[in-house]
């Protein structure tokens, strides 16, 4: 899984999150190990999602001309062309239509789930998804856990990553054939850093955390 560091144990969740730095530039001459990239993508699929609907899709751009085209649609961020791989993280709007039944069938067949339990899950999932007014926003939101896990898995595998959220949505769709029932959540450039941005400070729990009621100070 981590061929670049065979004799070091991979970092914990906290260590991976703490060590993450935004690269100022990627080393365009250093390719990514293909197996390591595949491993990172596989870890990303383990992310949580409602009813395990797994609405994320990954469009991996490795061809240099393709990365240059993508860069032109992402405010010319040079890192998009430097990074040997850029993952366009997509959110799929209708996983309940296409994925729910096969998943329940597989779980029932595996003995993990009684038919009654499958019916209950089907009922709850269908009802919940019926309540989703904005499918595009829902899919974007629930692609983010996979994007986050992808970044942490990349860090664990010794890769640098930067999450890019500013791009021309319509142009990227057109260039790479992304259909209307998928939203673009973000772009993640992956590679080896030349130079890291110093870490930005973190807001403390006294600033971001409340206890019991909004605005009431947090204390453990």
């Amino acid at each position: 899984m981590y061929p670049s560091a065979p004799d070091k144990s991979p970092p914990s969740v906290e260590e991976a999150a703490r060590r993450r730095r935004e690269p100022r530039a990627f080393d365009a001459s250093r390719p990514l190990d293909a197996a390591a990239l595949e491993g990172v993508l596989a870890v990303a699929t383990l992310a949580p999602s409602p009813f395990d609907l797994q609405p994320w899709r990954f469009l991996v751009i490795r061809d240099e001309a393709d990365r240059r085209r993508l860069k032109a649609r992402a405010r010319n961020d040079p890192r998009i062309a430097q990074a040997p791989a850029v993952v366009v993280v997509l959110g799929y709007h209708h996983p309940d239509r296409t994925h729910l039944e096969p998943m329940l069938t597989a779980r029932t067949a595996a003995g993990d789930c009684s038919p009654a339990r499958a019916a209950e899950i089907r009922g709850r999932a269908t009802s919940a998804m019926r309540g989703v007014a904005d499918r595009a926003s829902w899919a974007t939101r629930w692609a983010m856990p996979a994007a986050t896990l992808l970044v942490l898995a990349a860090q664990s595998a010794g890769m640098a990553s930067v999450v890019v959220e500013t791009f021309d949505d319509e142009a990227v769709r057109r260039e790479f054939g992304i259909p209307d029932d998928h939203s673009i959540a973000c772009l993640i450039a992956l590679g080896h850093a030349v130079d890291d941005e110093p870490p930005a400070g973190r807001l403390g729990l006294d600033e971001v955390c409340f206890a019991g009621h909004f605005g009431r100070p947090w204390g453990p």
Copy 2:
């Protein structure tokens, strides 16, 4: 950081993601270690966000009566009342207004960032945020990396978690004083599991991953 397992090294990112199970029920009689909960929240703040704006906020509900009130607003999911802590993960709409300048000032003061570089980051962040048409959706999306890290950190600390996305948004805001410039991204119930849901199968990379163009099969 991980007082519940002092002599075991914490799991890697992949192990934490792979071991995660959805609890069918929480053991309401087993409290959460307060220091461990604080540690999990602190790890969640290490999540990535655009320009490190950190738009997440955590409203931690521990009081039993409060959890019952929250449960009533979340389709009566019994786990919300069983779990000793429920984190309402919020996305704050305007971190660029309140957090960008203090962050740049701190970075410049620390010598991490020249005034020219700070001006460049300010310009890019301001321009990017000016392009955000829907602040509520932006904030919800960028609260999700913190929610994801919270789930992984909880797993690493030996806690079970379930992410709940179906709730009465207006009622939860009213009950817990959440202002209009914050969106509710999800609820995360944290505790010790009585019984786990068997893991749902994962879609393979052949199903969720494309190479170079949407629909083109992925291969490493």
